[in-house]
Symmetry: C2
Subunit: 205 residues, 2 copies
DNA sequence: CTCGATCTAGACCGATCGGTATAGATAAAA
DNA sequence: TTTTATCTATACCGATCGGTCTAGATCGAG
C-alpha cells in the first residue's frame, strides 16, 4: 500500500497536459485524477481554488516558460540568434505539432472569458517581442509588426491543422516557411540575405 | 401561451453557433436549450441520437456550406475568380474573425476523436481544392500545395488570435497578406503581378 | 369538423459534475 | 520517539449532466 507523494511543481505540467488535450470543460475532475494519478484530496490541497485555480496556475506556468525561453531572448539577446532560437524552442515545445498550445485551446471557446488577461498577454507579448527583435535587425516598424503577427498566428494555425489532418510534417513545414519569410536561415546563424519587398496593406472586399 | 414551431433546417444553424462558441464539451444540453430556444423534447425529436448527432449534423452542414461556396468554385470555376471569391466568402462567413471555425474548435481538443473523418475531410479538401486552383493559374504543384496549406492554416490561426487578442483588424489583415502571397488582388479581379521567387524548403533544427 | 401524425414542454432518471469534510498516512522537527 | 504539520484517499454533498418519457398542443389530411 504505497502512497505516492507529489510536489506541486511536478503536478503543474501534468495538469497542463490534461487541460491541453481536453480543454477546460472537457477536463473533468475524474479525468484529471485518472490522467495525473493525483487524488481529489491532493489536488484540492495544492489548489484550494479547485479547477479554476488549476487552470490559472497552469496558464501562468506556460506563460513563464515562454517568457524564459522565448520572450526574454527576443527582447534582450542578439535578435537574429534569438529568432533562430525561437524556431528551435517552438518546435521542441510543441513536439513538432504533436502538442497543442494550451492558451490557444482556451482562447477558442468561452473559457477565454474566464482568463481573458492571461490569454491576451501571452499572445500580445509574443507578437510584440518578435516585432521588436525584427525592428532591431532592420525591418521597419510596420513590416515587423505584420511579420510578427503572421508568425504567431501561423504557429497557432499549424497546430490546429496538425490535429485535424494528422499530417506529421505540416508543423515543421510551417516553421520553415516562416523562417524564410523573416529572411533568416534556420539551421545556421547565417545573416540576412535579401531585403523584403514590403507591399502596402490592401483592404479586403 | 404561444408555442414556437421549428423546422429542422432552421435549427441546425442555431446549434452550430452554440457548438462554435462553447465547444463540444462546453455545450451542455441546458445551454443548448437556453441559446437555441428549443426544449429538450424538440431537440431529441429532431436529433434522436442526442448531442453527438447534433454535432455530427452541424459538422455536415458546415461542410456543405463550404463545398457550395468555396470548394466547388475552386474546383470548377475560373481559378482567379474563385480564389478572389474565397477571400470574400471566408471574410463574410467568419464575420471578419468575430466568428470561429467550428471544425477548428472540434479539432483542437479530444472531440476530434469523435468526428475524425468529418474534421479531416474538411481541411484536406479545402487545401486540395485551393492547391489545384493555384496549379491552374500556373503555380507548380509543390508551390501550390505549400501556398494552399499556408492559406488554410493562417485562416485558422487568425481566428485563434482574434479571439485571444480581440484585435478587430487582425483577421482582415491576415486575409490581405494571404491574398498578396497568392499574387492576387482582393478588391478587383486584377490578374497576376509578379512571379514568386520560390525558395527551396529548408529543414528546421 | 375529426383524427392521426407531428412536435413541444418539462418532469423525471441514474450518472457524473465540481467541491467538501475527514480520517489516516507520511515527513520533518524536536 | 513523539509531536506536529503536511499530504493523500475517499466517502459524501447538492447541482447538473445527457438522456427518456409522457401529456398535451398543433398541424395537415380526410
Amino acid at each position: 500500500m504505497t502512497r505516492t507523494i507529489f510536489e506541486k511543481a511536478d503536478v503543474i505540467p501534468l495538469l497542463a497536459e490534461v487541460f491541453r488535450e481536453l480543454g477546460y470543460e472537457g477536463a473533468t475532475l475524474s479525468r484529471i485524477t485518472e490522467r495525473t494519478g493525483l487524488s481529489k484530496g491532493s489536488l484540492y490541497h495544492f489548489f484550494p481554488g479547485g479547477k479554476e485555480e488549476m487552470a490559472a496556475v497552469v496558464l501562468d506556468h506556460v506563460h513563464g516558460w515562454f517568457i524564459e525561453h522565448i520572450f526574454k531572448p527576443l527582447e534582450e539577446d542578439e535578435p537574429i540568434a534569438a529568432i533562430v532560437g525561437m524556431w528551435q524552442a517552438v518546435d521542441v515545445y510543441f513536439c513538432s505539432g504533436q502538442r497543442i498550445c494550451l492558451v490557444g485551446v482556451f482562447a477558442l471557446d468561452e473559457t477565454r472569458d474566464r482568463f481573458p488577461q492571461a490569454i491576451n498577454r501571452y499572445f500580445i507579448r509574443w507578437i510584440d517581442a518578435l516585432a521588436r527583435a525584427l525592428v532591431r535587425i532592420g525591418k521597419d516598424k510596420k513590416t515587423a509588426a505584420l511579420l510578427a503577427e503572421n508568425a504567431v498566428l501561423s504557429i497557432q494555425g499549424a497546430l490546429v491543422l496538425m490535429r485535424a489532418t494528422a499530417d506529421a510534417g505540416l508543423f515543421k513545414r510551417a516553421l520553415s516557411r516562416l523562417a524564410e519569410d523573416l529572411q533568416l536561415q534556420c539551421e545556421t546563424t547565417q545573416s540576412v540575405r535579401k531585403p523584403v519587398k514590403t507591399t502596402t496593406k490592401r483592404k479586403l472586399s
